[in-house]
């Protein structure tokens, strides 16, 4: 087992590694290409040419019928992992999402029934698609939805993860991923307003979707374990900036059994599993522990998450991950500010182990230079014994 693996594993097991481990969340083509020194495809620039757009409007929906989308997502997953290794991270959240399909150059949807606007990052690349609305609003829509591509996900994941694990697994602790958690996927395919009503009035419909995806995710875990991945980051945005979106009791009723089944499956397969949720999750922290997650990620400062307080509340039960701000610190802060933020997070959560330092999220405005400073700062401040242990 490599030092990086040992480091990450120790933190996830709430032990003290040789230094605070790091995790990468990079999702944006521009940064990945910058790190790898690759030239992006000029796809984004073609959008400014009306003739090219007309041709692409014809071509894009036809890519849905071919392996075009899958191929580009496999390439993305590979490049994205290579970039993490090149940067020197200890671990990375590696997504593999061959889920997008195009209506045309401006609008896309995914195999789970979510519609998006296609976005550009201004640097010649397609950006992360921007969620617009759901395409499944009632049980009839759900029954009629073509699920064949969804059911192929475990096999597709297995192939892509097997490749990155083979080529990079000895240098990086790779966290696999689903394409959104049970809450996120079920509300987004019908829209939040509609979902809020459905949870009240059509509970059985909502539960039938959750059951379907729980079974699917357990199969995806089997596929990831078979590919050799040591961990999974289960991403489910359950909260927003001032608290959970639903009553925590409702979360337990809807998702408690499924979450426990998912974590038990991961553990039975020898994998670690952490949960990512944006927003203010104070009211959910104990529940995450009770559900069996090994780590909790994001802990966004902008949502009021104070790392020292989280450490005090649940630091003995779950590994804390994230907390480095992506609205200022990793966007336009000075070197001193980046070092100060990293040092503060390590002082707040690093003592005794059980902390993996990482950005809270990923977006196109993040600066590669500041990510490098972040990693430098971890080398400086994150070696155990920590500075505070000397005080």
């Amino acid at each position: 087992m490599s030092v990086r693996h040992e480091r990450v594993l120790a933190a996830l097991e709430l032990k003290e590694p040789d230094r605070v481990p790091t995790m990468d969340l990079m999702l944006e083509y521009a940064n990945i290409y910058e790190i790898l020194g690759k030239r992006p495809l000029p796809l984004g620039f073609l959008y400014s040419n009306p003739y090219a757009v007309r041709v692409m409007d014809w071509v894009f929906p036809r890519l849905n019928q071919s392996f075009g989308v899958d191929y580009s997502m496999n390439a993305f997953t590979y490049d994205r992992t290579a970039a993490s290794v090149k940067m020197g991270y200890d671990s990375a959240w590696v997504i593999h999402v061959p889920i997008y399909r195009f209506f045309d150059t401006k609008r896309a949807y995914d195999i789970y029934g979510r519609a998006y606007d296609v976005t550009l990052d201004g640097k010649g690349n397609l950006g992360t698609p921007m969620y617009r609305e759901g395409l499944i609003s009632n049980p009839d829509d759900w029954r009629a939805w073509d699920k064949r591509d969804i059911l192929r996900m475990p096999e597709k994941n297995n192939r892509a993860y097997r490749r990155v694990q083979r080529d990079f697994g000895d240098r990086l602790f790779i966290f696999g991923s689903f394409s959104g958690g049970l809450f996120e996927i079920t509300w987004q395919c019908m829209g939040f307003q509609r979902y809020s009503v459905a949870v009240r009035k059509e509970r059985k419909f909502v539960e039938s979707m959750i059951r379907f995806y729980t079974d699917l995710y357990c199969l995806m875990l089997e596929a990831m374990a078979d590919a050799g991945l040591p961990g999974v980051l289960y991403t489910d945005d359950l909260a927003y900036r001032s608290g959970p979106m639903f009553n925590p009791r409702t979360y337990e009723e809807l998702f408690g059994d499924s979450y426990r089944r998912i974590t038990e499956t991961a553990h039975a397969l020898g994998m670690k599993i952490a949960i990512h949720s944006c927003g203010n999750v104070y009211q959910l922290l104990e529940w995450f522990c009770d559900c069996g997650f090994d780590g909790v990620h994001a802990l966004e400062p902008t949502a009021g998450m104070e790392l020292a307080r989280v450490k005090e509340l649940v630091g003995k039960r779950i590994c804390l991950m994230g907390n480095i701000d992506v609205t200022h610190v990793l966007v336009d802060a000075t070197r001193e500010e980046v070092f100060a933020a990293v040092r503060q997070s390590i002082m707040d959560a690093g003592k005794g182990g059980g902390y993996i330092l990482a950005p809270t999220n990923s977006h196109g405005g993040m600066s590669v230079q500041r990510l490098r400073w972040m990693l430098e700062a971890v080398e400086k401040h994150g070696r155990y014994l920590l500075e505070e242990d000397f005080n």
């Binding site: 606007d117 921007m130 969620y131 617009r132 939040f192 307003q193 979902y195 809020s196 009503v197 949870v199 009240r200 009035k201 927003y240 900036r241 001032s242 608290g243 959970p244 979106m245 639903f246 009553n247 409702t250 944006c278 927003g279 009211q283 902008t302 949502a303 992506v326 609205t327 200022h328 966007v331 977006h363 196109g364 405005g365």
Partner: protein, 210 residues
Amino acid sequence: MEEYLEKVKEAVANLELDEVTPLLKEGLEAGIGAVDLLGAMSQGMVKVGELFEKEEYFLADLVLAGEMMKEGLKVLEPHLTETGVEKKGTVVLCTVKGDIHDIGKNLVGTMLTSSGFKVVDLGVDVSEDKVVEAVRSHSAGAVGLSVLLTTMVNSIGDVVSALKSAGLRDQVKIAIGGACTTQELADRMGVDAVGKDAVEAVRIFSSWFN
């Protein structure tokens, strides 16, 4: 009548989805004024807001309450037009250019409407020119800008600059809200307030129009 209005208020406050519309229809048929019924619904929404602040209700509950308000307003609006209810003030709302997230914005719109404001909702991905045009044509006193994406925060500054260029900045207050907004961002962009949720948004706009 007081007892009946109390029932409407409680139905809204308790999020009794299927009860409010029939209650309003019955009330109108019984000769209770639309303004009184709207007042009872608004009081119910105030209670919802209080329960939200006490962390007994959550975002989804606000959305449910908002849906009830929308349904209720459909019943009451024809009667309200007849009586010509005076609004507290006009607020132009939108999600900024480059961003299409609208849960928070919609919620703020519903809460403001139920609190007696005229809301001009411009939708999502709205350019600064459209905001200026709406402020001018509706003589709005305030603007609410929603932004979720960190990459789009500069669109807030674009709106502020456009309002300044149009000579309208001094006559409107601007509030921002959304996942990536902070007081530091509000200061940097030159806006007047930042709200953490829809309940706080109502408080902010109310303070400006009182």
